[in-house]
């Protein structure tokens, strides 16, 4: 394993931000390769944990170095500065590195970070980005693939997650790492992780096992795995968005990942000052709760659940 300096940014008073990559050189130069990017934002604990766990796995858990067949680059964190102060975005100007691609070497700080990172990510067969959802919600682990014309849905199934969200492209997605990486010839996938701030070992194992599945099925590593799910491809039209008509204290009564029936109660809202139930949330369809609002206080008309419709 080699440690590579991906980028260095100095600060007026903080110690320099040095983002490092861990490069595992494969035994077969002709084998497919992969680069994996962990935390680009500060509140992305599971992406950080999964990437660092992968570094440890590749170093210590494969009994023979030759079982790493293709090159693997793992960059656990790009944004230590945000992680260390529990901020989501770049601490000074609050810009999101994942909206700065392909980057610009003569531009603003986060454009320069994106450029240095993007340069280091070129030439890989596959690219995996560990992300969390935007907004105030958490979810079961799934793959997000933009409808960009460059996406590879068949390969995305090799992770074995329950869902692949084949998502229509918004203007702001055109400056994301996934989109630009695909444009530059790498088959890129985003793994959307639960946005919990604590590590749940069951969930983190699910995320981790998906990556190992993918590496194994693409013959990047030799490692026997148990198959995951036969992934369901989900389009925007397959998602039922359930909003709350009242604001207050939000109590989900069903967890993400639960299969539910039409008219089943899945959550309620309590009056924040008087304690009475002001709104009960019932599912309008059969399906699977893929995402849920994650804060205890909820706004009026906020999206409380996203349910993948079945039946």
């Amino acid at each position: 394993m080699k440690t590579i300096e991906i980028l260095r940014i100095d600060s007026l008073n903080r110690s320099p931000l040095i983002a490092e990559g861990y490069l595992f050189e494969g035994s077969d130069p002709t084998a497919p390769s992969v680069a994996i990017v962990g935390a680009m934002e500060g509140e992305t604990i599971l992406p950080l944990y999964t990437a660092s766990k992968l570094v440890d796995f590749l170093r210590h858990s494969l009994d023979d170095e030759s079982k790493i067949v293709g090159n693997i680059l793992v960059i656990p964190s790009v944004n230590h500065y945000a992680l260390n102060i529990n901020q989501r975005f770049w601490p000074l100007d609050k810009t999101d590195i994942n909206t700065m691609f392909p980057g610009y070497g003569e531009g603003e700080t986060t454009q320069r970070i994106a450029k240095k990172l993007f340069d280091a990510l070129q030439g890989y067969t596959h690219g995996i980005i560990l992300e969390t959802r935007e907004g105030i919600s958490t979810c079961i682990p799934y793959i997000k693939l933009f409808e960009s014309g460059y996406e590879d849905l068949k390969s995305a199934k090799k992770f074995g997650y329950r869902l692949i969200h084949h998502k229509s492209l918004r203007p702001t997605d055109t400056v994301s790492l996934q989109y630009n990486w695909q444009l530059w010839g790498t088959k890129a996938y985003s793994i959307i992780c639960p946005s919990d701030t604590n590590i749940d070992l069951n969930t983190s194992n699910e995320v981790f096992d998906g990556i190992i599945n993918f590496l194994s099925k693409n013959k990047i590593i030799q490692y026997k795995v148990l198959s995951g799910y036969e992934s369901t491809i989900v389009k925007n039209r397959d998602i039922e968005i359930i909003k709350t008509s009242k604001s207050g204290i939000f109590i989900p009564t069903k967890k993400i990942g639960t299969t539910i029936k039409k008219d089943e109660m899945i959550g309620k809202v309590i009056h924040a000052l008087e304690g009475k139930v002001t709104h009960r949330i019932f599912s309008p369809c059969d399906g699977l709760i893929a995402c849920a609002y994650k804060n205890g206080l909820i706004f009026e008309n906020a999206v409380a659940f996203r349910v993948i419709k079945s039946g």
Binding site: D93, T109, P171, S247, N295
Partner: protein, 316 residues
């Protein structure tokens, strides 16, 4: 003036978020009565537009007889952000000016911007007033997407600003208010001026004259009063030069904002307080007008220090 709510949402604990609109209209409406919408406060740390809308509202209250069109005022799109010194929509950390057009099925910030776009829809003209951010100070200027410039440039020239910056179409900017409204058929102009978290009164009064001048020429007000219309520089006849910090440190200005400068003039220095050393001295790469200058002194490598509008690269 009528005040209405264009969006409201009950917050979790005993408070209601409302986005308000003020409307001035003529005593009699005709089929060809024009409508202008003035929008500000999309970013919670930008307050200059609040002052301009105050000045405009005050002028219209004192000159109600002149009103011959509909004037809609939306001073605080990100009302929650303005009152909490938060640029994005609080808690969601979303830049509202990257969330358009939104929809009723979107998350809360998306619902809010959708409500704004639907309310402004049908206006003949919209002006979206921004005040940079807390880092940079801007002279009063208009930003125009080249795609829409045939219809918006003539209006921009009436706004009494110092500079018109016509930029190429960028996909990511399709999520802005101005792009959304231009697509919907409302001629929309973006004003940038001043600096975040501050009121620059002289700029506010300058833009007020421009808005009144535009409204008069469009028949939205009918008055004999003359309003200033200065001749702006236009990016059509020159280039914009960027100066970014080459190192981290404290930026110390050596020059006045909005100055006419010569190539090689010192713009400022990047210094290290601890060692007392100068890391870098920044020189103007072109002669011209310094229309953007950094106000917030802490910089990283890449932080924008200044922008100069000067002669094209070929002539420099």
């Amino acid at each position: 003036m009528q005040i209405t709510e264009i969006f409201s949402s009950q917050l979790p604990v005993g408070e209601k978020l409302t986005i308000k609109k003020g409307r001035f209209e003529p005593k009699e409406r005709k089929p060809d009565t024009k409508r202008i919408s003035i929008v500000s406060g999309t970013h919670g740390d930008e307050l200059e537009g609040q002052y301009v809308i105050y000045l405009l509202s005050s002028w219209l209250r004192e000159n109600t007889d002149t009103i011959s069109g509909i004037v809609d005022l939306y001073p605080a799109v990100n009302a929650l952000g303005i009152d909490t010194i938060t640029r994005g929509f609080p808690i969601y950390e979303v830049d509202l000016n990257r969330a358009f057009p939104g929809s009723n099925h979107d998350y809360l910030p998306g619902q809010l911007v959708h409500a704004l776009a639907e309310d402004v829809k049908g206006s003949d003209i919209a002006i979206d007033i921004h005040s940079s951010n807390i880092f940079l100070k801007e002279i009063p200027q208009i930003r125009i997407n080249k795609e829409f410039s045939p219809s918006t440039l003539p209006l921009a020239k009436k706004l009494n600003c110092d500079f018109i910056w016509i930029h190429d179409a960028v996909t990511v900017l399709e999520a802005t208010f101005s792009h959304t409204m231009n697509e919907m058929g409302t001629k929309t102009l973006v004003v940038e001026m001043g600096v975040g978290m501050t009121l620059t009164q002289v700029y506010g009064k300058q833009l007020l004259s421009g808005i009144l001048n535009l409204m008069k020429s469009e028949g939205i007000i009918s008055t004999d009063e003359e309003f200033e219309q200065r001749e702006p520089f236009s990016s059509e006849v020159g280039d914009v030069f960027y100066i970014n910090s080459p190192s981290a440190g404290l930026f110390v200005q050596s020059i006045t904002h909005c100055a006419i400068i010569k190539k090689g003039d010192v713009i400022g220095t990047i210094v290290d307080p601890l060692s007392g050393k100068i890391h870098d001295t920044l020189y103007a790469p072109s002669g011209g007008i310094l229309f953007t200058l950094r106000e917030f002194p802490v910089v990283y490598e890449g932080s924008l220090i200044a922008r100069i509008f000067g002669e094209s690269h070929e002539n420099n």
